[in-house]
């Protein structure tokens, strides 16, 4: 007699905990064959605000970690993903990815985490500077994280896109509230589980699932979100920029087609630079 399998209740990862939407709303996802797979939390503006609160709370501690420590935590996250890559690939395939594509995306994603793990203790020397001012001051410019960054991931590739956008943002000490792919949200549920078992402190990365049209306006206007990193087109872009104007929020769009996320050019120092502030200090010399 065949055994009835235990299915998992998908929950989103917010503030280091697995929660349902506060609204108790869900939406159904079906696998590639059209069969019901699970009910996914349909996160609301309130869930987003809760996530921002969690991210804001985690921010100072994460920013104060040493660069070496952040590097090791990102590396640890890659270790978690590598160990469970079979499960992730399977989930991508279940929702329509070709096996080869899913495997390659997984490999690129893990390698990308390691790429940014390595950046943690290097970008400062490239983005900062000592400035030869014409007075008796030691004048230097260093980077600082912006704070809470909203990430709006592409629908496809669902997992690689999300990973590629989160990694450079947290590498410099920002915390993230991310909205996962609307069409293929399930891999982000799995990713949450891996984040929870990595050494990443709760609240540093918060993953929401739900509908872009419901959440983008709040990403745009929430004043505690200091920057938005989005894959968005047309009216979504305008909505994000309009909302951002109210608190002079930084907005960056990742204009990449699906295939481009797989390429080496989709990673690098630019993405780190986009989410740091520059601070210049004039320190007196002698007297």
């Amino acid at each position: 007699m065949s055994r009835l399998p235990i299915t998992k209740t998908p929950k989103v990862y917010i503030g280091g905990a697995f929660v349902r939407s506060e609204s108790a709303r869900t939406f159904k996802v079906a696998d590639a064959a059209g069969a019901f797979y699970a009910n996914i939390p349909q996160c609301t503006r309130k869930d987003l605000r809760n996530a921002v609160e969690a991210a804001a709370k985690a921010g100072p501690g994460w920013a104060k970690r040493t660069a070496y420590n952040r590097a090791q935590i990102l590396y640890r996250l890659a270790e978690m993903l590598e160990a469970r890559s079979g499960e992730l690939v399977q989930s991508l395939v279940r929702f329509g990815a070709r096996e080869a594509d899913a495997s390659r995306g997984m490999a690129v994603g893990v390698d990308r985490l390691i790429h940014y793990a390595g950046w943690c203790d290097k970008y400062e020397q490239l983005l900062g500077s000592v400035n030869p001012v014409a007075s008796a001051h030691f004048n230097f410019t260093v980077t600082e994280p912006m704070g809470v960054v909203g990430v709006i991931a592409p629908d496809s590739p669902p997992l690689l896109g999300l990973l590629s956008m989160i990694a450079p943002v947290i590498a410099s000490g920002n915390t993230v509230v991310a909205l996962a792919s609307e069409t293929v949200p399930y891999p982000s549920i799995l990713l949450g589980e891996m984040l929870a078992t990595s050494d990443l402190p709760g609240g540093v990365v918060n993953l929401l699932t739900g509908f872009r049209r419901e959440l983008i306006p709040t990403f745009a206007t929430h004043t505690h979100i200091r920057a938005v990193y989005a894959v968005a087109q047309g009216d979504d872009r305008r909505v994000l920029r309009l909302g951002a104007a109210e608190s002079v929020k930084r907005v960056r769009f990742a204009d990449k087609g699906r295939a481009q996320w797989f390429e080496a050019s989709a990673q690098g120092l630019d993405a780190v630079r986009d989410f740091v502030e520059l601070k210049t200090t004039w320190h007196p010399i002698g007297s």
């Binding site: 490239l126 400035n131 200091r226 210049t280």
Partner: protein, 494 residues
Amino acid sequence: MAAPRKSAGRPSPRLIFGDLWDFDPAPESADPKLKARYDLFIGGRFVRPRSGRTFDSINPGNERKLAEIALAGPADVNAAYAAAAKAFRPWAALPGRERGKYLFRIARLLQDRAREFAVAETLDGGKPIRESRDFDVPMAAAHFFYHAGWADKLEYVVPGASVSPLGVVGQVIPWNFPLLMLAWKLAPALAMGNCVVLKPAETTSITALKLAEILVDAGLPPGVVNFVTGAGETGAAVMGHPGAAKVAFTGSTAVGKAIMRQLAGTDRRMTMELGGKAANIVFDDAPIDQAVEGIVDGIFFNQGHVCCAGSRLLVQEGVADLVISKLRNRIRVLRVGDPMDKNTDLGAINSREQLATIRRLVAAGVREGASMYQPPCVLPEKGYYYPPTLFTGVTQSHRIAREEIFGPVLSILTFRTVDEAIEKANNTPYGLSAGVWTDKGSRILRMSTELKAGVVWANTFNRFDPSSPFGGYKESGFGREGGRQGLLDYASTA
């Protein structure tokens, strides 16, 4: 907090020097070589505005008309963008060495005519001649000189990537440092190989148009730089023009937000240098006399028309009475008056409108219960002037502690602990600059780490350098000006 009480301790000493003898006038007499009428500078030539309209530039020091300035309408802005677009390819294709040499020339020609420019700047904007002569003009020349040297070294700007210019850049600058802001904006854009359409502020167009004379003398190819003059409407046309690959704006946060909204439907790149409400923090171990000078510099430099002005003084309680009493004495001898007098410390407020804004906010300060001190001083009968003003008993919710006044008005608050200072300093939507006064190097670095501001001055204030990136956090804007980082804001990377 308590204002200094006459009964507590010894009476504060009174300086009587300035009370007994007045200074003889010491007017600067160099010829500013002004024209009666200034046209637009488009395609390397001075051209009459197609709009057919002009407006007057007033000397805020005496309310007399200085010159007539062309008012650029939409057709003029179009013409400027067309000229810049035409100039772009050959300019960007020039070897960096050659572009750099033009900028070096501009720096030198400006130095040659430094005094003439300083006088023009003071007449047009109202700032003391001492400041335009010793700060604005030399610093503007330094910016051209610094960026000139970058033009042939662009492959070093970003490690691992190559940079290229963006195209035509639209720039709008404010009236507080007309020539200097222009240099900050032009020099990096040109060094990178961009072309520019720039609008000076309505009340201070003259030094930009005088600089156009230098651009002609330097042989700069026509169209590389275009100046269109006018007010807000012209500015909106420059910012909103579809021919702009990037816009750079310096001005108020309100207008910055309006520009961001205006461009929300486009992918235009932006640099925003907006308002500020900087905390200037004095700890009890600070060198007090030096700090008092720094506080005065921080808020009264350029009549307080400075986006990064130290307009919120945070003093540690133990030294608050001492600092405030020394400050009162210090501002009693500040000389307010004719901007052209070499002894003047505070010149004219830039415009009638700005004077009204300052009066309105000061009235709000009084109404909300802060106590005001203004030294006795006789202001000239003609012109726009405002005395140096201190407010004590200010709380964080007072408008004068939250809103940018952009005038010679200092709000004084106190604190007890380092953490309280940090919290109060950061309790603002702005984040442009901050000052820290202490004898401890380690405390300077702690404060610098905690303060949410783009520039932190320690035991100094209002210092600038072309090699030192300047720009804000939060609602003070984004992007940097100066240094390698500022240069990069005018480039795309690949």
